[in-house]
């Protein structure tokens, strides 16, 4: 029902979430979430804090378990927990709010860790690949530095490079600019726009409405654990259908 807005019905679904519910004890963090994201689609998830948007993408990535409902990634069911190498969630890459770079490794090693451990190629080949990706996020010259030697914006760009080095089919962003100083937000957003324009499937939890306007195919508005509204960005920002969305927009815009 949610994908009715997009007309690319022949395209495969990257993510299919149906009737997904998650509880923390008695508290229902996600209430019967239905969402379909097609391959190549860019979806921005927004909403007030505590609305469950981070929990939702963490469920997609297997960082959170859920109690009921279904989650499919490229048609393969993904259980409540990550399980082994066949888990379809290995197709997802994630960028965190707090970067979560590995402080004991150089920028380059941060990027090559996962491909190395998954034996995607020789060290030289993987280094070369990672340098290409680092070049793309404009931070190649810092490849031999440690994360703490970089600014927040640079660290987040490294984190994006690290996720890209997994060659994921779906990229998840969990408030990637929320921990950044204001002057560093744009350098990260520019990289995200660039990544989006390369046709990657992206699900971004963000408050950056400018980014949503620029690249999102759809905006998902969540409140109190529910999806309240799904709309194209131009419709969502000009004429939100629900009062809750209108109220939220009046606060962030």
């Amino acid at each position: 029902m949610c994908s009715s807005i997009t007309d690319k019905t022949e395209v495969q679904n990257a993510v299919t979430i149906s009737e997904l519910s998650k509880f923390y004890g008695e508290f229902e963090a996600l209430k019967h979430i239905d969402l379909e994201v097609t391959q190549g689609e860019r979806v921005v998830v927004c909403g007030p804090s505590g609305s469950g948007k981070s929990t939702l993408i963490r469920c997609i990535n297997g960082l959170e378990t859920f109690q009921s409902g279904g989650l499919e990634i490229f048609g393969e069911a993904a259980g409540g927990k990550r399980n082994g190498k066949t888990d379809p969630r290995h197709k997802t890459g994630m960028v965190f709010q707090n970067f979560n770079l590995f402080p004991h490794m150089t920028v380059l090693d941060n990027c090559t860790l996962s491909p190395r451990k998954h034996k995607r190629g020789t060290r030289d080949k993987l280094d070369a690949l990672a340098l290409e990706v680092l070049d793309k996020v404009k931070i190649k010259d810092q490849a031999d530095k440690y994360p703490s030697q970089l600014s927040g914006g640079q660290q987040q760009r490294v984190a994006i490079a690290r996720a890209l080095c997994m060659e994921p089919e779906i990229l998840l962003f969990d408030e990637p600019t929320s921990a950044l100083d204001p002057e560093m937000i744009n350098e990260v957003l520019d990289v995200m726009v660039q990544v989006a324009n390369e046709g990657n499937t992206m699900i971004c939890v963000t408050h950056e409405m400018g980014f949503a306007r620029k690249v999102a195919d759809r905006v998902v508005f969540m409140d109190a654990g529910e999806i309240v509204e799904i709309a194209k960005p131009e419709d969502f920002f000009s004429t939100p259908k629900t009062d809750r969305a209108a109220e939220f927009l009046s606060q962030v815009l």
């Binding site: 990535n61 960082l63 890459g93 770079l101 004991h104």
Partner: protein, 215 residues
């Protein structure tokens, strides 16, 4: 007997003291990592079992453990040499403490590190080995150095189970010659001489770690 002669006499026990420390460390370090990591991961009955073993070694007085292992166990048909008992008991006692440093260091890591590992599709063991342990080891170092020094000092107790270490040598000299001031200050100095290099080593390691760039 000159003070220097006393010191030389005491150091005749150095080989025993030193061997107990080295073999003790061979018990302590693997025990600390195995049980610290197990305690970090386990739940339910396994956690209780692991904790019970750690607490046994950590909470029992070393003197009593030495006596039990050396004098009581033979009654049940288990006989171990004084050296085995000394290094085992001192090593595992130290290991019990050190396991808590391992567990605490792992627990105090930012959870985001683990999550980043999961998000990169790494298996749990790989996350522990490549991401968690390298960072945790850095914060364990000061505790490990402290415990190492504790272990060295603790070896004085093996003189109670017939071993002729530095302390036993001092007592032997004390029986030949009445010079408590010279002999026991010589003994203190002897332990200081072997403990201080460990302190210096610890400072060197910590200095190296702090140079490494961390977020």
């Amino acid at each position: 007997m000159s003070f220097f002669a006393i010191l030389l006499g005491i150091f005749e026990g150095f080989r025993v003291t030193f061997s107990i420390v080295v073999v003790g460390l061979c018990y302590a370090v693997p025990f600390a990592f195995c049980f610290g990591i197990l305690q970090y991961f386990s739940k339910g009955p396994l956690y209780v079992a692991v904790t019970a073993i750690i607490e046994f070694w950590r909470s029992s007085p070393v003197v009593i453990l030495l006596f039990v292992f050396y004098y009581s166990l033979p009654a049940f048909g288990i006989t171990m040499s004084a050296f085995t008992v000394g290094s085992l008991v001192l090593g595992l006692n130290t290991g019990g403490y050190a396991s808590q440093a391992v567990r605490a260091a792992l627990q105090s890591l930012d959870r985001g590190q683990y999550e980043a590992g999961v998000a990169l599709g790494l298996p749990r063991f790989q996350i522990l080995w490549s991401i968690e342990l390298p960072q945790a080891v850095v914060s364990m170092v000061p505790t490990f150095i402290n415990l190492w020094i504790q272990l060295i000092k603790g070896t004085a107790l093996v003189s109670l189970i017939t071993m002729v270490d530095m302390t036993a040598r001092a007592k032997e000299i004390a029986q030949i010659e009445y010079n408590p001031v010279g002999i026991y200050s010589g003994l203190l100095l002897a332990y200081l001489i072997i403990c201080y290099p460990v302190t210096i080593f610890g400072r060197w390691v910590e200095g190296r770690n702090s140079q490494e760039k961390r977020a």
